[in-house]
Amino acid sequence: MDLAQFLVQALNGVQYGLLLFLVASGLTLIFGIMGIINLAHGAFYMIGAYLAYWLVGLTDNLFLAILLGIPIAVAVGLVIERLLIARLYDRDHLDQVLLTYGLILILNETQKILWGSDFHGVPVPEMLAGSVPLTENQAYPVYRLFISAVCLGVAAGMWLVIARTRLGMMIRAGASNREMTSALGINIGRVFAIVFALGVALAAFSGMIGAPVSSVYPGMGDRVLIISFVVVVIGGIGSVKGAFIGALLIGLADTFGRVLVPDFASMVIYALMALVLLWRPQGLFGRAP
């Protein structure tokens, strides 16, 4: 591999890593910060992609579709949190796993009833449809660079909200000690409802913005779910920064793994996860127990 190839692959890796962070961002909030094991994360991602497919069909404009889709996702998140998740904060993780697994089945069936089982593509918005020449015969799609920029924006936004705002303080306080926080007069139920809805909205948002490059099909959330957990676990539970670094590491490891050790490509990221956990069981930026 010469230097040019190395740089191109590094770009691929970083770009993939940023995409992974975006995809995992919703899980970072819900699992990382709230400590709720949300197996339905991938299903929310899929619903987002289908929302984009449906709304682009109606409006012919991806950005308009996203603007319309986010309130729908927030509403879905709020309803699910109030009706179901809110009853599980005091229960153990197994109950959460069961409930959110049930949600996967329900959401998959809903998708099938609403949109059928066909494979769909969502066109890349006209103004971002071009490509930037990279090497003599390879170009880089502008839309992928745009997604990278959006990922950076989401990462910065999440960090700002959690580290620098009053809501972020309430979230962090609630995550470390629910009773004490509510004793201080904070409506912790409402805070958690907001966080859960935001997490669902982020999952759906990443599905929507990713739809033009990922295509839209049943079961598309399954892989997203696994990789998102890998990102959050490597990064360390409770750390947005960790998830960000973790996602970049996985993106690079996966990309170079494919090129350098193609026979073991599917194992590389899990090997990386195992190594990180051996070295730091709490994850790269997780607090030691």
Partner: protein
Amino acid sequence: MTDTTRARPSRRRFLAGAAATGAIASTGFVPTRFAIGGQAPVKVGILLPYSGTYASLGEAITNGMKMRIEQAGGTLGGRPVEYIAIDSEASPPQAPRHTKKLVIKDQVDFLVGPVHSGVALAMAKVVAGRDKPIMIIPNAGANALTRGQCARNIFRASFSNWQTCYPCGQVMADDGHKTVVTMTWKYAAGNEIMAAGTELFKEFGGAVIKDIRVPFPDVEFQAHLSEIAALKPDAVLAFFSGGGAIKFVKDYAAAGLKDSIPLYGPGFLTEGLTEGQGAAAEGIKTTLHYARTLDTPVNRMFLEAYKKAYNKEADVFAVQGFDTGSLLLQAIDATEGDTGADASPAMIEALSAAEVPDSPRGPWRMSEAHNPIMDIYLRQVEGGVNKILGVASRDLEDPATGCKLDT
């Protein structure tokens, strides 16, 4: 989950279902009375995916098969039909259990399925050599099913993986290409299709520079596209299906490779997917045993009838389901409706010599190894449809290496 096809309702499906239910209701309480008169329903077990990524394939196959039987009066050999469908979830580990349920508990007369080759090999292990049921494969292309693991009571109405891309090599050589990179998922179907596609290419003096294998069912292709750009082959031979095929074709074009390095593959790369792929698919040449654009009276009628019945476009999987229905009809007509264990040899004999003149893909006949002998078309995406350029290989028969049938 077990006893219904979990597809969306349509009027025709509802009517068919109601008829079947009526038939069950009238025979269910006192089965023997009607069984003697030959009016007990013919049991058709179906093991197809109705959820997950392959759900649309399962639905199309079921629709096509039911439509064929409806066209023949809605009965098999004059008897009503009872469909017993199980969602295979395209999961090989669950296949033996599902198959045994249909074969042993439900005692189905025919077994139709599956889509996934891994499921097919597991099913074949249960079914092979029995008098009942007769198994008809409406998709799964694993070569072994009609080679080393062929069986007298297992028939394929679809294709072998080898057939779908064997002509690819000649097509690429004819277009003047000398070097190729192959790219597919790292699983049996991918490897078999790529091996078939490069077989002739090598014979014509072409060279395979690299075989890129992506972990199944991963759809992150960017790193590999950069590899291809650096390797600069004359052509790329690729196989992906469904959502993966949409994404691959779009990514390939977005990486700027489409114009400098033309893309070839089996027709699954573009068939039924051109709408999702858009302009990125234009110009891609593929080979397959069918194309929607096939301009024959049979195909036009088929497309029209399918659209009317299910309010969506038929695809190659619906065609395979349709032909599965034709085989069921031929088998049972050979015994005039008798599906008892004694009738099995006659049905097997009829299917072994089956000719399907009214298939939307064009006439085909059954090979000695129980796999279709059929034309493979060369198609090119033009104006958003797979246009047929000609027949890439006439009456193509799978070599059936290692198949020994003890008839």
